[in-house]
């Protein structure tokens, strides 16, 4: 074995060891790397104290209620993961992407009554990028309702014909 060959073997062995160690560490810490918990997580394992948690899911269709509390706008909506849902109340400015069916991550505390009192609402959008006209075409043909969930698989988009290409 030449010196170069030996260095190569040592290097590959070190990288394999490092990769394994990192993989093991990440899988061990996996539950604390998640950015948010789902309503099902929160229902099955409610936090013992009133600690700050992030709850993620979709804004349930037809659940958004706007109200005024002490002259401040207050919004209530349910966050769902399709299995469980939790009522969220939030007083503040909602992000521009907030709508029914949109993914959100709300940060706050679970109040004793079971309501989640949020002090921050972040919008989460999916990885589909498409022009408005395509969405209109999909909606018109009954293939997708944006407030009901994620868009259909992109492989089907090619069969869509966009009626008019608007530049702006």
């Amino acid at each position: 074995m030449t010196r170069k060959r030996r260095r190569l073997v040592v290097l590959l062995a070190c990288l394999a060891g490092l990769g394994t160690a990192t993989g093991l560490a990440l899988s061990a810490f996996s539950s604390s790397i998640v950015f948010f918990v789902t309503p099902t997580d929160l229902a099955t394992r409610p936090p013992a104290d009133a600690r700050l948690v992030r709850l993620g899911g979709l804004v349930q269709q037809g659940s958004v209620r706007h109200a005024l509390a002490d002259g401040h706008p207050l919004v209530r909506f349910r966050v769902t993961d399709g299995h469980d849902s939790i009522l969220v109340s939030f007083s503040g400015i909602l992000p521009g992407l907030f709508r029914e069916g949109q993914g959100v991550v709300v940060q706050g505390r679970l109040a004793p009554g079971g309501t989640f009192e949020a002090d921050q609402v972040l919008a989460r959008h999916d990885s589909a990028y498409m022009p408005k006209a395509l969405v209109e075409a999909l909606k018109k043909r009954g293939l997708w309702n944006p407030s009901a969930g994620p868009p259909p698989p992109p492989a089907t988009w090619d069969t869509m014909r966009i009626p008019t290409r608007s530049g702006g």
């Binding site: 290097l11 990769g19 990440l26 790397i33 972040l122 022009p131 992109p154 290409r165």
Partner: protein, 272 residues
């Protein structure tokens, strides 16, 4: 292998060995890169500006993000180049550790700042994008945090390579750091798959149709080609300068030694 163990002094045309050794010859590198550089620079300017202008003015706005989605044409290619630049950095580091090629050392040292700049563009444009869309400049989710770590790895490499009086030791230490840091690359890529994050999933993957409509995908592809050519052009130009700098330094050294010998000879001392 040992028969053509490369003597890497700046004098050109020493290795005539097979395989990759041909390209590690600094003289050949200088000739090749001189021919390549104008083409790369032209491709970077043409493709890059075509992609960015197309994305900024002619691509349709996104159905839900509107005009803000145009930040994608700056952000996504920068992220990809920061990642692939790190792959190049790690490859150079492996070549430097195993085969001890000085050209790989110089290349690693020159890739570092360019990769850091692209990672910074990615982080800044992402922050500008996140505020209007998500409602936060920054969140500590797995994707953003692992990308920030990549930026710090680049910065650490830049500092470490230049931290030693003996450059060889700096190159060695930098190469080890770069190879350790490579575990961050799969973490960045799969962070949005393995854990839930605020950042959305990958729009483009090897095994499925991209979830970007074709009229928005073309400018992204052009911009990415332009960014790639630009990355390569900047690194090549820096590397040429570094090789030439080294060559000048050794010529000056040779000249000084020669002058010293001459003065010894003139003084009647035995030239050693």
């Amino acid at each position: 292998m040992a028969s053509h163990a490369v003597v890497f002094e700046p004098t050109p045309a020493n290795s005539r060995g097979p395989g990759l050794h041909r390209f590690a010859n600094p003289g050949r590198f200088l000739r090749l890169s001189e021919a390549l550089l104008p083409w790369l620079a032209a491709a970077a300017i043409l493709l890059g500006s075509a992609g960015l202008l197309w994305g900024a003015f002619f691509a349709p706005p996104d159905w839900q993000q509107g005009q803000a989605a145009r930040i994608m044409y700056v952000h996504v290619p920068a992220a990809w180049l920061a990642l692939s630049g790190y792959v190049a950095l790690a490859l150079c580091s492996a070549v430097s550790l195993v085969w001890r090629h000085p050209l790989a050392d110089l290349a690693a040292a020159e890739i570092g700042p360019v990769g850091a700049a692209f990672a910074a563009i990615c982080l800044l444009s992402g922050s500008l994008w996140g505020r209007p869309m998500w409602g936060a400049w920054w969140v500590w989710d797995a994707r953003l945090t692992s990308m920030l770590l990549l930026f710090f790895l680049y910065l650490g490499h830049i500092a470490l390579v230049r931290a030693f009086d003996d450059p060889t030791r700096g190159y060695r230490a930098g190469a080890i750091l770069a190879l350790i840091g490579i575990v961050d690359l799969p973490i960045i890529h799969f962070s949005v798959v393995w854990w839930n994050t605020l950042h959305q999933g990958n729009s483009i993957s090897l095994f499925s149709a991209p979830s970007i409509y074709i009229s928005m995908l073309w400018p992204l592809i052009l911009a990415t080609l332009g960014y790639s050519a630009g990355f390569a052009a900047i690194v090549l130009a820096r590397l040429r300068a570094a090789v030439l700098e080294r060559r000048i330094a050794s010529l000056l050294l040779a000249q000084a030694v020669h002058a010293e010998h001459a003065s010894f000879a003139a003084a009647g001392a035995p030239a050693q």
